[in-house]
Point group: C2
Chain length 187, copies 2
Amino acid sequence: MARAALSSKAVVGLALEIVDESGPAALTLAAVAARAGVAPPSLYKHVRNLAELRVLVSGQVMEEFAEHGNAAVLGRSGDDALRALMRAWRAYVVRNPHRYAAILQSPEPATAAIAERLVDILLAALRAYDLEGSQAIHAARCMRAAAHGFAVLETGGAFQLPEDLDESYELLIDMVIAGLRREPPRS
Amino acid sequence: MARAALSSKAVVGLALEIVDESGPAALTLAAVAARAGVAPPSLYKHVRNLAELRVLVSGQVMEEFAEHGNAAVLGRSGDDALRALMRAWRAYVVRNPHRYAAILQSPEPATAAIAERLVDILLAALRAYDLEGSQAIHAARCMRAAAHGFAVLETGGAFQLPEDLDESYELLIDMVIAGLRREPPRS
DNA sequence: CTTGAAAGCTAATGTCATTAGCCAGCGATG
DNA sequence: CATCGCTGGCTAATGACATTAGCTTTCAAG
């Protein structure tokens, strides 16, 4: 291998810097190249194209995010774990809003494994609620919807009123927990 | 006024067609111009630039969406209204996924009025729950987060497992309602 | 009939992504 | 030690787009 100047890894790192500073929309190959001190076409030696770079960035962030969530639930269970996970979720988003926004929704096979891990963490946090198979999936989806929805709206600046956001979020957590409790194992 | 061929209104209409067919990412001035049978620069006679077109499209969609939600709660109240509103929310999203995705988050002053209307509808649906001022705001945020989060994840293809999405969503609705019931008017 | 603004057009510029094809450095091989 | 081939970087070129400048045509009002 010749001059090991750049690398796929390094490119993703630079991309993350750009995302952090200016948001996912500012992530262009031209910007990465400039930061790497290299001509734009050179990047194609390390990354297939912009779309792939986005996927790599998304995967990296998702992984970091999952790790953060996982750390939050360690040694906890039941309501405690659920609260911790949801708080960690928002804490991550508030601290790294651009990074979080860089997570791609579309089910890229490349990131499937990481997404799976995230789901596992969610399901583990729900374990104490005695949900039978399918019900646990539904519950996990709800929790995810709640946390993600709040995150998106908050970082998007959709909550304009002066009311305290922490308080709103705690209410949301309470809602999820209350909903899990009264869970009727129907059909 | 000379040849009344195009108009700001018409341009937004064409833009909506493109969004519906190919998603918000496909909304370019070039595409709109092609559809209008006109050279791209001509559009600047009707719209300041692409950014403004996006805002206009977003506003139009938000308005339609709010109207849809409003219709759903008419003549209903309490849990009934809440359920109807949340179901209408998702129904709209499922029917017009691209349109919904075209709604901009950032608080554009131009669309502030419509956003306000949406909040009003939400608050009205919550009226039966006897929430004091601030608590109603928090509750409305939670409901919005839940519905929006589910919508985003569903349209983004984030729910991969085979479990029925309707069932997941009904559980989410139950969660919100349960959460509103046990609402402790603390602090 | 004249005229002026509205609405369209062409030409030009700048930013990106992406492809093609060239060149240099370096490590392994003989 | 000389060379070969890979690797990573470069320049040039193409093609979307957005956007601006400046020209032209058309129509309606006087």
